[in-house]
């Protein structure tokens, strides 16, 4: 083995040794390399980045949503000071009074549309490229579930400003569910928490919007990304490379050094 320079030794001590310590106990570095350093077809393009873009949009939604939850209060009761419902008052305060609240609420409000639009573009790309075919059927199915869950996020989030648009759009949305055969009236009454939108509807939608559905959505995204990593990116239809070629297994490291060096593990 070549004699290492002093600088190299310092890097080893400061960076690689702690990483190795962690990796030996958790496999985290190997896992990260498995996730990041994978074979990608030669002829991928910007089209293949739509999924990552949708993920980024989701992360923006999660972060801005968590911050908005610090200032928003899902109550239909009347604020005695403003004479308006508390939920609406807090939305007005976020938008008009709290510093940069307009920006974060705007990011969350418009980001919701961006998220759905990116999912649709991503879905169209996968469909037109035939990337849903063997062995990626389950990736497609989890993706469809992510789209449905994302729409549920939109449905439950739309009520939260508790203004006239929110109220009546949600009334229409709930009653739209109510027209489904057999179970429809039951579903509508479950969603509204009674025959009509009432005081329980708003906290119920809020809990679904920020706790239940995001939990499901994060789990689905995890499965989706795991499958994408495991199965690899498919070649475009015009590619000369064989689509669906199995990915070679990650070689065990030749030494105990895990070392985050590109190409040292993946191929």
């Amino acid at each position: 083995m070549a004699v290492k320079s002093k600088r190299q030794q310092m890097v080893d001590m400061a960076v690689l040794a702690p990483l190795d310590w962690v990796d030996e106990r958790t496999g985290a570095v190997r896992g990260t390399k498995w996730f990041l350093f994978r074979n990608v077809p030669r002829d991928t393009s910007w089209m293949q980045t739509l999924g990552s873009a949708a993920l980024t949009a989701f992360i923006v939604q999660a972060l801005t949503g968590a911050i908005l939850a610090m200032y928003y209060e899902p109550s239909a009761a009347i604020n005695p000071v403003t004479g308006e419902p508390i939920a609406y008052s807090t939305i007005v305060a976020i938008t008009d009074e709290l510093t940069l609240g307009w920006l974060v609420r705007g990011m969350h409000r418009w980001g919701a549309s961006v998220f759905i639009i990116l999912i649709f573009l991503h879905m169209g790309r996968v469909f037109l490229f035939g990337a849903y075919k063997y062995p990626r059927e389950l990736t497609w199915i989890t993706g469809v579930l992510i789209l449905a869950t994302g729409m549920l996020m939109g449905f439950t989030g739309y009520l939260l400003p508790w203004d006239q648009t929110a109220y009546w759009a949600s009334a229409v949305g709930i009653n739209l569910n109510g027209t489904a055969p057999f179970a429809g009236p039951w579903l509508a009454q479950f969603l509204a928490g009674g025959p009509e939108i009432g005081p329980e509807t708003l906290p119920k939608f809020y809990a679904m919007h920020m706790l239940l559905i995001p939990g499901a959505l994060i789990a689905l995204i995890g499965v989706h990304i795991y499958l994408v990593t495991r199965l690899g990116v498919s070649s475009p239809p015009w590619s000369s490379e064989a689509a669906g070629r199995e990915r070679p297994p990650v070689k065990p490291p030749s030494s105990t050094r895990a070392g985050l060096v590109r190409g040292s593990g993946g191929d």
Binding site: A76, A171, V172, G178, F190, G193, G194, P195, E196
Partner: protein, 313 residues
């Protein structure tokens, strides 16, 4: 892909027990709303079919057990000797149907499922049932009947449940029809929610704001209207609430009423299939209230055989 080995089925054919189990669970949940007898029947169904299902699923595993020989790790001749001894032992006493590890894994799974069910079922019940139980609304008092001029609609806005506050504010269009043929007072009380998808229907006519009254949280505004329109999707109703145009699937919902001390008291909400005749002489096809957009009469009503208001009253 055409490897014939892939074509051999690995699992036993589909079983009907899970469907019976699901019906039992559904019956149990429905029974919690309707009556305890239905719940008990559902529980019995769920238990019986669940047992049959579990038995069917584990049949292969249970029958395989006697064939497993976990002790066959020894060298060949030792194995033969052991085989002979085992055969002798087998001749003396039958092997147990369950090995210890099978029993332990099965009991762990079973206990886990039982604990999961004990935790999940009450939570599921609490998720669903409050939307369907104890939802009776108070009777709304619209004030003296003298405030309702004969033959003219009044837009009445009131709190259906004062404890809930403004969120329970409802609007109804009230017309005093004058005395009916039998001399009793008659009112036409249309509920303002469009029976297409629940938007607020508006009277098509000028509102007499000068004669607006507000008493005890009830707001009354006379209006000159012979029809009602919905701003959302263009539903149009005539003066009796019959659909004249647009997407609504039935006539406007109505409210029952009673008169106490010459005050108009609103009762329960009900759905209306069709109204023939007008005012005090109207023939109203009355049905239990259902969600807007659902048919209450005709063939399409078969799509909604049981609606919540029929069950919870």
């Amino acid at each position: 892909l055409s490897d014939p080995g892939h074509d051999t089925p690995h699992v036993s054919g589909p079983s009907l027990w899970p469907i019976g189990f699901a019906i039992g669970v559904a019956c149990l949940l429905l029974g919690l709303v309707i009556s305890w007898i239905v719940a008990v029947i559902g529980a019995v169904f769920a238990i019986v079919f669940g047992f049959l299902w579990a038995r069917g699923v584990t049949r292969d595993v249970r029958e395989d057990v006697p064939e497993i020989e976990p002790e066959a790790r020894a060298a060949a001749e030792e194995a033969q000797a052991a085989q002979a001894a085992a055969d002798a032992a087998k001749a003396r006493e039958p092997l147990p149907a369950y090995s210890r590890s099978h029993f332990l894994s099965a009991s762990t799974l079973g206990l886990g499922a039982a604990i999961g069910a004990i935790v999940t079922l009450p939570v599921l019940g609490f998720t669903v049932l409050p939307s369907f139980t104890n939802i009776e609304e108070d009777e709304a008092d619209l004030g003296p009947i003298d405030n309702f001029p004969e033959g003219e609609y009044v837009i009445a806005s009131f709190l259906a449940n004062p404890k809930q506050g403004e969120v329970s504010r409802r609007t109804a269009f009230v017309r005093n029809n004058g005395p009916a043929d039998n001399g009793e007072p008659s009112f036409t009380i249309l509920y303002s929610r469009c029976v297409h998808l629940g938007c607020p229907v508006q009277p098509n006519g000028p509102i007499d704001e000068e004669n607006r009254k507000e008493i005890d949280g009830v707001e009354l505004r006379p209006v000159l209207a012979q029809s009602f329109g919905c701003p959302c999707h263009g539903g149009l109703y005539d003066s009796e609430g019959n659909r004249r145009a647009g997407p609504p699937v039935r006539s406007l919902d109505r409210l029952t009423f009673s008169i106490k001390d010459r005050r108009l008291i609103l009762g329960e909400l009900y759905a209306v299939g069709n109204v023939s005749g007008t005012g005090a002489n109207a023939q109203i096809a009355r049905y239990p209230w259902s969600v807007p957009g659902t048919h209450v009469d005709g063939v399409e009503a078969w799509l909604y055989p049981i609606v919540p208001s029929q069950v919870t009253g």
